[in-house]
Amino acid sequence: MSIAYSTSKIYKIINGRLLINHEIVENSYLWYQDGKIIHPQSLFFDHHRDADEIIDAKGLLVVPGFIDTQINGAYGIDFADYEHSVETIQENIDIVAKGLLRYGCTAFCPTVVSSSPEVYEKVLPLLNHRKGSATGGAEILGAHVEGPFISVEKKGAHKQSVFRDAKEGIAAFDSAYGSELLKGSKAVAIMTVAPEIEGVSDAIPDLVQRGITVAIGHSACRIAEAEQAVTNGATSITHLFNAMQAFHHRDPGLIGVLGAADLPLPTTSKGHPKPSLTSPCRHSPDPRPFFGLICDGVHVHPNSIRIAYYSHPSGAVLVTDALSAMGLPEGEYTLGGSELQVDKNGAAYIKGTSTLAGSTVTIDECVRNFQKFTNCTAVEAIEAATLHPAQLLGIEHQKGTLNVGGDADFVFLDDSTGELRVEKVFVAGDEVSF
């Protein structure tokens, strides 16, 4: 049976080494039309159509575009900024969305640190899900709201005065974030909470029901509280190792969730890591959550990255947690009201302290570092920045994949030097010009 195809231009990428089904495949081609990846066999036999334009990848790796699920801003722009006018904020968001493309990032979750309800009311509507384009910038997948339901003890650079508890259950969240929270994942894709805060853990199922991905972070919780939160529906850990209890062998804390053996097995695979050799059950989706890793070499020691990865390889998600100073030279900047200092390693500290506030690393640098730290294959490193974040958000059929039906967001990588370097970026099938 033949399917109706549109008459728009068909593109064919030749001489590329494609990342398909966890492997690098040669002598294969990538076909796309109308910004989606297609299977051209029916087109050829039923509609006598061949490629209208051939793109020569000249032997480069062709992989899905990178997805960054935690980024606070860049180029001097902060997503939690609410002082400017709506028009200016919108322009700033566009600047970041366009700027991220050069690092191979074709989709991201703009992250808003703990703020007061007025800030969310103003800023969240501008961070709703928005399709990407080569001229308009990377796709916005919805906001990542980090706090204010987090722990004072593990606040990092967040402003403590806006922290609160959830005694009133889901109503507390609605009052903290405003009406946008009712839109669910279209407005808020990810929410980071600390489960030991009163009322938070019990409210997780209500948040999950709205389609929001619940992540545990900035928390001083013990292992039992953490596992309970996962049982209640949390599917991610925010920047593992940072802003949580240090690992102790008799009290492993939030980090210890990676070693959980008897969490209830998920009933669906959506939103959960695929089974790996270290999964509790090799045939079902992994009940352990995904976990974000900041691979700037500063936030987490390379050895720690390695330990975490190999204990739960299918759950690793690379994030930048970059803040407004990303893309700018070293110096002093502000984030969410705090004053920061960026040193020559790109690490951002609260001015005058040794408390990390965020990074200035880019997602492609994260992929390179991750591969170096863990000695994993290029495929594994790339999947940690593409497939896994897509699986976390339940969108792995559109993003993070080169399978038929996926969005035509992809990146040409040069691996000839042993490191993965971004050469070309395509959003919805159009090449981005830098």
Partner: protein, 294 residues
């Protein structure tokens, strides 16, 4: 009939791909006068297609003015099923090269009227002026296309029920489950293939040795349908050493020696052997000759 014997499957595939390339290039096809090629499926031609793709990618061969007709297709299998012959040809050849989609003809196993489809196929072949070169393989039972033992040697494109042996052989592509293999197929007839101006058959492997022996050393017989090639003015069989295991030593030595003489006297580049012996040259050496296009 010519019998070309090469060491192994690699060399056989290499020879045939280069032979086809030379034939197409010497023909100098154009859009008004395209090169009409008949093509098979199965495991035998995979190496040939791979080599043809390489020749296309290196710029030595273009399919712009090549029209193709495939031998067969399963009945009732969806066209985009991974084991359909449409899928096989797409993955093996068409997706890699510059062939024009309208120039590709494969029988439609899902046509509402199968007999009409077969008649239409024959008419399409006639409309382009007949097939210039038909490449085919051979089954262990000596069949060409799906013309199983007992098929009329004058048969044309029609619906055929597959022989049990064929279904077993094909089960490996359907998870080893013979109940999943289609029982019917559309196939070109023996006469359809023999109507081509040249027929090239690839025969490799020890399991084909008996079939090769029956087809060229015994008589023309509907139980070994490839034997019809004995009645063709321009037949070429390319085989590997293993496939010759059931032939008489005399047959093998004969064909090896005439290949040598052919190259010395006529020149290896004279593919069609037309024009006869232009110039008598003394034989160069007793070693197996090197054709210029190998």
């Amino acid at each position: 009939m010519r019998l070309i014997i090469r060491e192994d499957y690699e060399e056989v595939a290499h020879y045939i791909a280069n032979y086809i390339k030379e034939r197409i290039n010497q023909f100098q096809p154009s859009s008004e006068r395209p090169f009409v090629l008949g093509l098979p499926t199965g495991s035998s031609p995979i190496g040939v297609y791979k080599k043809l793709v390489e020749l296309y990618k290196s710029g030595e061969l273009s399919f712009q003015n090549v029209v193709t007709f495939n031998m067969d297709e399963y009945v009732g299998l969806p066209r985009d099923h991974p084991e359909s012959y449409h899928s096989f040809m797409w993955k093996s050849l068409f997706m890699h090269v510059d062939i024009v989609p309208e120039n590709v003809h494969i029988l439609d196993g899902n046509a509402p009227d199968l007999d009409e489809e077969c008649k239409k196929f024959e008419a399409d072949i006639a409309r382009v002026g007949g097939i210039e070169l038909f490449l085919g393989g051979i089954g262990p039972d000596g069949h060409i296309a799906f013309n199983e033992p007992g098929s009329s040697l004058t048969s044309r494109t029609r619906v055929k029920t597959l022989a049990y042996e064929t279904i077993i052989a094909n089960a490996r592509f359907f998870d080893g489950d013979i109940s999943k293999v289609p029982k019917l197929a559309l196939t070109v007839g023996v006469a359809t293939v023999m109507d081509a101006r040249e027929v090239v058959v690839i025969i490799t492997g020890a399991h084909k040795a008996i079939a090769l022996a029956k087809c060229i050393e015994d008589g023309v017989n509907h139980m070994w349908t490839v034997s019809a090639i004995q009645m063709h003015p321009k037949g070429l069989i390319v085989c590997d050493e293993d496939a010759t295991l059931e032939l008489h030593v005399k047959t093998v030595k004969y064909f090896k020696s005439i290949e040598h003489v052919h190259h010395s006297l006529i020149g290896a580049e004279n593919l069609s052997l037309q024009g006869g012996v232009k110039q008598l040259r003394s034989p160069v050496s007793n070693d197996r000759p090197q054709t210029p296009f190998e």
